[in-house]
């Protein structure tokens, strides 16, 4: 039996062949240089090319302000630490991931007061509810574009409009949406966008980054070699460098290959195909007695859904799927504890199913057959 991999919200597998080829090629090729070598070559370097492709994908007209990091968590910590806010209050939502909640709750944003905007049981956050909470001391709003638990996609355009109206910085966490849901940073007034490379962008783990709009000030929390201006030891306020140390010269070419794959296939087309597959899963699971799905077809539009089966804990269902049927899912709270309070699943969590642009319809149908079998056995006990 071939493995069925339905844990793409954690990390995508498999990757398109072009990504694997790019990663392998990067290991064999002379190092990319990045200001530290005479072997620079001609034309645009891979980092610039990747930035430009990401700019096309995310609707960013100033891709030179995209900075590479080791991933979304690294990006979020840097941004929370150093973003200059007009007010001390930071609003985040109940649908946020621990990569947002833990830095904020552990004081990485100095002097910040954190307020959580609630979500409904499907993970939906109301823009109107958000606007009601915007007091004069609101400085930053963080929004998880697509929930990694329920697949709810927030109305980022509307939130951006409200944030802009009130002069509040808008940070969009695109960890789950990058590469599979259309994003337009310029149109949505996004001040900072965070992305990871190894999920919907099909890149390797250890890649990712953030975009910072012109005029948004960020104080770095790390300094080091940048390969240029080596005699300079201090920085004037606002004149910082953010990509310090040797950059990921193997990972970024592979990430670029993943982004090019998505641009060629078309993110809207990917979103439609994934939605069709998710509808198949929603329909199939809703017909199985004992299954609870924590989302609604046509409402939760992302490539993720959460479910439970009566008679089995999520960890037990995941164990059976993994060890009995070679089907990989994830069980638990999925690093997003607050949304489970809205869902009523805070005690044991859920089983999460998440697809990618490479998930086959055959796999989804096979998964439904497996769940039917397990549900029948559980009901018989």
């Amino acid at each position: 039996m071939d493995m069925i991999y339905l844990n793409n919200a954690a990390t995508t597998y498999p990757k398109p062949q072009c990504v694997t080829d790019a990663y392998t090629a990067a290991f064999s090729a002379p190092p990319a240089g990045q200001f530290r070598s005479s072997g620079q070559g001609m034309g645009k370097d891979i980092f610039t090319r990747c930035r430009e492709n990401l700019g096309r994908l995310f609707g960013i007209s100033g891709p030179e302000r995209i900075y590479f990091t080791s991933g979304a968590t690294d990006s979020l910590n840097q941004l929370f630490y150093g973003l200059e806010r007009k007010g001390r209050k930071i609003l985040a939502t109940q649908a946020e991931h621990n990569s947002v909640l833990r830095p904020l709750y552990n004081g990485i944003a100095e002097g910040a007061e954190v307020e959580i905007v609630p979500c409904d049981p499907y993970g939906y956050v109301s823009p109107e509810e958000f606007e009601k909470r915007l007091t004069p001391d609101a400085g930053l709003f963080v929004l998880n574009h697509c929930s990694n638990v329920t697949g709810m996609i927030q109305d980022a355009a509307r939130f951006g409009e409200i944030a802009e109206k009130h002069g509040v910085l808008f940070l969009l966490d695109a960890s789950q949406s990058a590469g599979c849901i259309p994003i337009d940073c310029d149109a949505w007034h996004v001040d900072a966008l965070v992305f990871t490379g190894h999920k919907g962008l099909f890149g390797p783990q250890g890649t990712g980054g953030y975009f910072l709009r012109e005029g948004v000030r960020l104080r770095p929390y790390r300094y080091g070699g940048t390969g240029k201006d080596s005699s300079r030891l201090t920085y004037e306020d606002g004149d910082y460098e953010y990509e310090i140390g040797t950059q990921n010269g193997h990972g970024v070419p592979a990430l670029n290959a993943g982004v090019e794959y998505i641009l060629e296939r078309g993110v809207r087309r990917i979103a439609e195909e994934e939605q069709r597959l998710m509808e198949l899963l929603y329909d199939g699971l809703s017909e199985i007695q004992g299954v609870t799905v924590y989302g609604k077809k046509g409402r939760n539009l992302g490539p993720v859904l959460s479910m439970n089966l009566a008679g089995l804990r999520p960890s037990e269902l995941a164990y059976i799927l993994q060890n009995g049927y070679e089907t990989v899912v994830r069980a638990g709270l999925h690093c997003a504890p607050l949304i489970h309070q809205a869902m009523g699943t805070q005690e044991t969590g859920t089983v999460r199913i998440s697809i990618s642009a490479l998930t086959q319809e055959r796999e989804a149908k096979e998964f439904l057959g497996i769940v039917r079998e397990i549900a029948a056995a559980a009901a018989a006990e």
């Binding site: 999520p314 037990e316 009995g324 638990g332 044991t348 079998e373 056995a377």
Partner: protein, 94 residues
């Protein structure tokens, strides 16, 4: 049944304060072995499945496994880790 080793499981428990361990066994588990674990707690055995699954639940621990595998997983509350030894001792008599 001989236990080759007891190792911390790669699976993390959702419940705070609980820890999971894998019991690596000398032989794959068969029906007879699984059913002999009944005294350890409330017993569920889903034999209808292509690869039958069992679960044994007690107040402070939970065992689960698949027939034919040479390991099972035990989750135990941190305050009751001595239950690992009790389960180990019981299995050695089977």
């Amino acid at each position: 049944m001989k236990i080759l080793e007891i190792i911390p499981s790669r699976e993390r428990c959702a419940e705070a304060g609980w820890h999971a361990y894998d019991f690596i066994l000398e032989h794959p588990m068969d029906d007879e072995f699984i059913k002999s674990l009944r005294p350890l707690g409330s017993f569920l055995y889903m034999q209808m499945l292509k690869k039958p699954f069992f679960k044994i639940e007690s107040e402070h621990y939970l065992l689960k496994g698949i027939r034919g595998d040479d390991f099972f997983r035990m989750a135990v509350h941190g305050d009751y880790r001595d239950e690992l030894k009790n389960v180990e001792n019981m299995i050695l008599t089977i």
